[in-house]
């Protein structure tokens, strides 16, 4: 593979909370660091290491990551409180979850912070895709306005029936696809929890033969 990962020291420049449990961090972009939209990096602090997909576009001057604070997690609780200006070790870029030009329509499917690579793609100028973002409640639809600008269709899917908003679909992303996806061949990009990747892939196998499936598992 042509990816050549390297290790860099970066500084935490800013932290911004997007919802009660999810926050963005901004890091300075090392001059020699190059990545493609959709790729991820590995971040380490105090001996704890974790992979995160990049939210920002390569052209931006800072590197943005979207992180969910996991109770009992190893790195995310640290990153949620560590001082601005702290040095961290970053290695990468990693992965092949990048956008491929195709004659088939692109369907992006994300759960939770799995939206990150699609933000990077949208912020890099990729447009015309259909995107589904599965979250529990509307407060987790952190990048809605950015994605709406680039997407042909942006579909928020809310799994918590008690929390509704505007034109959001009530249910899981899989349920939306079952009910509304027009038969045909697509390029599916799936990023998020294993259950979503399993269920959507099974649906594709049954209903969308000839489609391509690219996956990025968040765990």
């Amino acid at each position: 593979m042509k990816t050549r990962a390297q290790t860099y020291t970066v500084k935490l420049l800013k932290r911004k909370w997007l919802s009660k449990k999810t926050f963005e961090i901004l890091l300075n972009l090392p001059p020699a660091f190059a990545f493609k939209p959709g790729q991820r990096i590995s971040l380490s602090l105090e001996g704890q290491e974790r992979d995160y997909s990049i939210v920002s576009a390569p052209k931006e001057s800072e590197l943005t990551l979207c992180i969910r604070k996991v109770t009992g997690g190893e790195l995310s609780p640290l990153l949620s409180v560590t001082d601005i200006g702290t040095s961290l070790l970053l290695s990468g870029p990693y992965g092949y979850f990048t956008y491929k030009i195709s004659h088939r329509p692109a369907v992006f499917v994300a759960t939770g912070t799995g939206i990150a690579p699609f933000c990077s793609m949208a912020r890099s100028g990729i447009s015309g895709f259909t995107i589904l973002h599965g979250v529990r409640s509307p407060v987790d639809l952190y990048y809605a306005s950015q994605l709406q600008q680039s997407a042909r269709k942006y579909i928020p899917c809310l799994s918590d029936a008690k929390k509704t908003t505007g034109n959001a679909f009530q249910g899981k992303v899989t349920e939306y696809l079952e009910q509304h996806l027009t038969p045909g061949a697509y390029d599916f990009y799936l990023c998020g929890r294993s259950e979503m990747i399993r269920d959507v892939t099974r649906l594709i196998d049954e209903r969308s033969p000839g489609s391509l499936v690219y996956t990025e598992l968040f765990y």
């Binding site: 030009i101 399993r198 099974r202 598992l217």
Partner: protein, 188 residues
């Protein structure tokens, strides 16, 4: 959190280039055998105790096999071909140099030999036979595929696997030789 997805539970898997294919697909069959070859090389390496240079050489070969697998797991019309590292002529030359180096220290071959002897030699013979099977599995991938970057790499993969089989044969004899085992000649 789960690290398994279960997307292959129904006998279908994804190629690196994104296509969903049955697990008995010729392409999956080919890189599956290379995976087996790689694992056998791992077993061989695990049995080499004080042969650091040889272990390093085998680990380099294991890495090349992963590189080769990526080509086999990618359809020739995929945009992802651009992200793959081409197999270099130097990687084949390295094998040829290694064959020549090992061959120099061995007694002349007097006939067909039995694939046996020291445990490391036996693993090398197993690796050789899996390598030959892998080679046979790559051949069908050249059928009905237009000339291009992928086909060029499949052809180079065949050269690499052919040379690797020869290397493993000589390596098996080398492993016997350094461990005090003589070639067991075929007695008709």
């Amino acid at each position: 959190m789960k690290i398994y997805t279960g997307t292959g539970d129904r006998g279908i898997t994804s190629l690196f280039s994104g296509e969903r294919v049955p697990k008995d697909n010729t392409r999956v069959d080919a890189y599956g055998d290379i995976d087996e070859l790689n694992s056998v090389l791992g077993a061989l390496t695990a049995n080499l105790s004080d042969e650091e240079a040889l272990i390093e050489e085998l680990q380099q070969i294991q890495s090349t096999l992963l590189q080769l697998s990526a080509w086999l797991a990618t359809r020739p019309d995929s945009a992802l071909l651009e992200s793959l590292e081409e197999i270099a002529d130097e990687q084949i030359t390295l094998l040829e140099d290694a064959i020549d180096r090992l061959q120099k220290g061995l007694p002349a071959l007097k006939g067909f030999i039995l694939p046996t002897g020291h445990i490391t030699a036996s693993w090398a013979h197993v690796a050789r036979t899996v390598c030959r099977r892998s080679e046979r599995k790559v051949v069908p991938l050249l059928n009905n595929v237009p000339e291009g970057k992928a086909v060029a790499q499949y052809r180079k993969s065949l050269v690499y696997l052919n040379r690797l089989s020869d290397y493993l044969f000589v390596l098996a004899r080398h492993c016997n030789h350094i461990n005090g085992f003589s070639d067991k000649l075929w007695k008709k």
